[in-house]
Symmetry: C3
Subunit: 422 residues, 3 copies
């Protein structure tokens, strides 16, 4: 059993006539798997209830014709415009009370019942259709859950879900008042119906209120994931389910989430433009995240997105140094990854991530990154055909607790000396 490599691919960004060229080049490079579709809802369901899966069938055919296996993402991180037009209230509300509109991604409230109904219908049809495709080996549900929101949506629907969560946790309001210490500053609640999200106040917030909100948000995301996982497991029980986590990101309690996964995946951008300077290409920081990923299920994991070039939205990071892309991939393998999927095949000529580089540059001609990663894959195979499935033996363990992380985020004690976990 060998280490596998793959790539994230967006056939919808390119003309059909290009697909076979891409497939050949992927094969030539030594890739085994391709992840697709996690941002394609508007093309897969262009009109409500009318599914357009043929183009994706064709793309799968072209790729599998070159021997590549497929992982499909469900596209719930970016609902199509027609859903927003029909039910604008699914657009999330931020902690300042402002709506966050369509035009980016994650323009959706995860507690909203109407939105969940749309997802159920879509995922059911998606599972029915692609569940029978032998070349599809597994699913990734949504994309980087918990990403894109500094805090989860603060809408009426989320507040109502929070109250239900609190009732389940405390049963009666007296228990909640005791646990939250509402005797301080006259905050005693008479009834669960009075409780809101920890919205803007004139001065100060109750840290226990904030802590329970963080826990609720994590649980809501896990419930949102389960909604889809239940459908997919039933429709296609032989395919795996994974999710692309984000290391030390703390929006979701990954211990809880990973219970629902066959294995965890991780997205790593060690040279990302979004990192604080001291964490760019920081080997210890990267290693610590990889070890957390391995620890979640105490087993091997995938890298579902591995940096394959310069990262960038409106600004750009530094160009990876020669050999650096491969080094990051190998570091992941050394820490327990047995599949490494590079993000992304080809740099897109439009959209927010126009400057987030793939293996191929904008022009589509192979260049340094392609050559480097091809060589990396060849060398890795020689060295590591027997490694897959093995796990590093850690001589020390580090306790990581999301509850503690949330508490430290709410009350960091010191501005200096505080370890950032985002």
């Amino acid at each position: 059993m060998k280490i596998r490599f793959g790539v994230d691919y967006y056939p919808e960004h390119w003309p059909r006539s290009r697909w076979s060229t891409d497939a050949d080049m992927m094969r030539e490079m030594g890739l085994d798997v391709v992840r697709m579709a996690e941002f394609s809802w508007s093309l897969l369901e262009p009109v409500e209830g009318s599914y357009s899966f043929e183009w994706l069938d064709d793309a799968i055919d072209v790729l599998s014709g070159s021997g590549l296996k497929i992982i499909l993402g469900t596209p719930s991180a970016a609902p199509p415009a027609w859903i927003i037009t029909k039910t604008p209230e699914i657009q999330p509300i931020d902690p300042d009370g402002r709506m966050r509109y369509f035009g980016g991604r994650h323009h959706c409230c995860q507690s909203n019942a109407v939105y969940r109904e749309h997802i159920k219908n879509f995922v059911f049809a998606f599972a029915e259709h692609f569940g029978n495709n032998k070349n599809v080996i597994g699913w990734q549900l949504d994309n980087e859950l918990g990403n894109s929101h500094n805090e989860l949506c603060y809408c009426k629907s989320c507040e109502e879900s929070f109250r239900i969560w609190l009732i389940n946790r405390y049963e009666n309001i007296g228990e909640l008042n005791n646990a939250w210490g509402t005797a301080f500053w006259s905050q005693t609640y008479q009834d669960f119906s009075q409780i809101q999200a920890p919205k803007l106040t004139a001065a100060g917030k109750n840290p226990s209120h904030q802590l329970d909100w963080k826990r609720f948000c994590s649980d809501l995301i896990i419930d949102f994931h389960k909604l889809q996982a239940d459908i997919l497991r039933k429709s296609a029980p032989e395919k795996f389910i994974t999710h692309n986590l984000m290391g030390f990101s703390e929006k979701v309690n990954y211990f809880d989430l990973s219970k629902d996964l066959d294995f965890v995946s991780h997205d790593q951008y060690p040279g990302g433009h979004f990192l604080p300077k001291e964490l760019v290409s920081n080997p210890e920081y990267n290693a610590a995240q990889l070890d957390l990923m391995r620890g979640l299920k105490k087993k091997n994991f995938w890298i579902m997105e591995q940096q394959a070039g310069i990262t960038g939205w409106d600004i750009l990071g530094r160009a990876p140094k020669p050999g650096q892309l491969g080094m990051w991939a190998m570091q992941a393998v050394a820490h327990g990854a047995d599949t490494v999927v590079f993000f992304r095949w080809r740099t897109c000529t439009f959209g927010t991530e126009q400057y987030w580089h793939g293996i191929l540059p904008h022009c589509g001609e192979p260049a340094r990154y392609y050559d480097e990663l091809k060589e990396c894959i060849q060398k890795a195979r020689l060295l590591m055909d027997e490694i897959r499935g093995s796990l590093p033996k850690a001589s020390v363990g580090i306790v990581f607790s999301y509850d503690q992380a949330y508490a430290m985020e709410i009350q960091p004690h010191q501005w200096w000396g505080c370890i950032s976990i985002a």
Copy 2:
């Protein structure tokens, strides 16, 4: 007549079984007075019109049984949840137009007629009940008036109050147009009804509009105080009325406010975590504030809250050095304070101020701060039994004008070299 010492105490934060232990330890330490109740509305009126004063009666009995005298605060700085549920419109609106919700403190508009009605009813019942208690020697109305709002509430009710204030000041709109220089940028008003709070503009504001708003806000707070003071004076004329001011805070014109007080009190946290670095433990800055406090009524004053440990909300300040707490208390006495009340008895295990330390640590066992302050009180008594009631003789005077302070805040002229008064 001797210098007195005291402590701010929250019996509602601790089990009843602990109260007598606390009272004994206070007496042992040498304390004379205790301030209570200023954040206890939800426990004193748990249901509208249904007062629950017995627990506070009992707390007063326990403390006075150890020889301590009581100051009671009115709890209008934190209305209970049931008021908010019934009339959410009393939650204040910030200058950006956003509501500031229940969940902290000061979640109330001071001009709102409905809220004032609630206060009147409560304060009347409170005064009737505790006015006859001989161990209650005085009242503190509300808490740190003007605190917690960068600017006062911008709601419709406040805007209407502002217009009435302007009509009283200018009588006709032509006078206002002249005074505000509305000929500039075509801002001439035809009628008082057109005038709003100095809300967000596309570009620039009229500095005279801003200045009158600042003056109005101060007058509104004073009016809000008077509402309660009138009831308390009538019900219990022999008890004193004071308020805990905050040095150079400028939201309220303290010269105006102190006319309504028997004496002024001051809250001092010379090592506060919220202070800019250059003002932490700055003796001149502290002295200047104390002198302003003395100057307000040209007589002795109280310290109603004196730092008794590390201060902190989500972050913490530095631990006071050995002897520093006592030194600050003595500096206040040297500048004219004749009573020093320490904030607070015991560090609370919940709430926004979980890390704002009291004399006792969270565990309730006496430690360094207790020992230091006990010693300080003993020494102070030896030295200063005759000092009480005397006043320092200043050899120079410094003019302080709130109007000037407001004008300099609105038009600071320079970012550098500007003296901050907040």
Copy 3:
């Protein structure tokens, strides 16, 4: 033909009895032209449809009696309070969704049909009345178009105008989807009616959406200008039309705007308090802006506002050094200006720009700035009587593109090394 000098004057800020003194002093100083009225709407139309032009007639008479020629500004940058009272919806909405209220300037949405109707009526009456006045030689429309808004208004009316602009540009939604690359992140639009301004999102924006919004905003401003220009050209064809541009400000594509102008004007404040430190009194930066101004119509231009003292709103810039005001004026002439109008005659004693100094200080007595500029004008006339109408011959050209500037603003690539053009 000689170089001309002038001043911006606000007779409405001062008593009538002062006007002739001012006129005499202007003449004595050597001034030729005076710009007036661009912020006087509330005094020119104090009640809807009831025009009060007499005071401005009188001011023109006084000034022209001293030989001065007049440029009149239309006052659309600051609609009177009665318009706002009647139709509060013309107040602009910012990118955060917040209304920007009356109380500063630019409190108006430029796409709003009701506001445009008010402007049409006013400008028609204004043109009819002053069009026959021989002492009025030209018009300035509005003031510094594009100023005062970080981005243009985001209201429903502007969004609707944007959709119409997009329909004109793309004709069908498929073209727009292709041009914007909406295949990325599932952003495909089914219909133009779904498109909004690039408002707040949860994460990321489409850069092509943002770019078209910038272009639309520029076109909207030009259309707003044309609305007035058409009326004025028809009513008074012999008078010139100009506009006071702002160098490298990029809200309006000045190449497009200047097509509508007989000549362009420029406002220059080389020592402005609002400039980043490295651009204060930076001769190259100033020269580059002047060359852009000359390049717009490849002909001579005016300086309509030239710094005449310290600038300031709530903070103040540095005092110009001796000779610096004249040097800046001469730099403009050397780059192609043939008229230099100083802002402003006398420092106002009220309003947002109370500290934006004019030639005369607040007290109205001539001082250093008056003396310096008087001497500058005398010297300039000796040297430059023959220069007017000539143009510098540039030995190199620099391409400047608003489309490129917008693209670089949306995706600056690097935080460091990025050339700011605002």
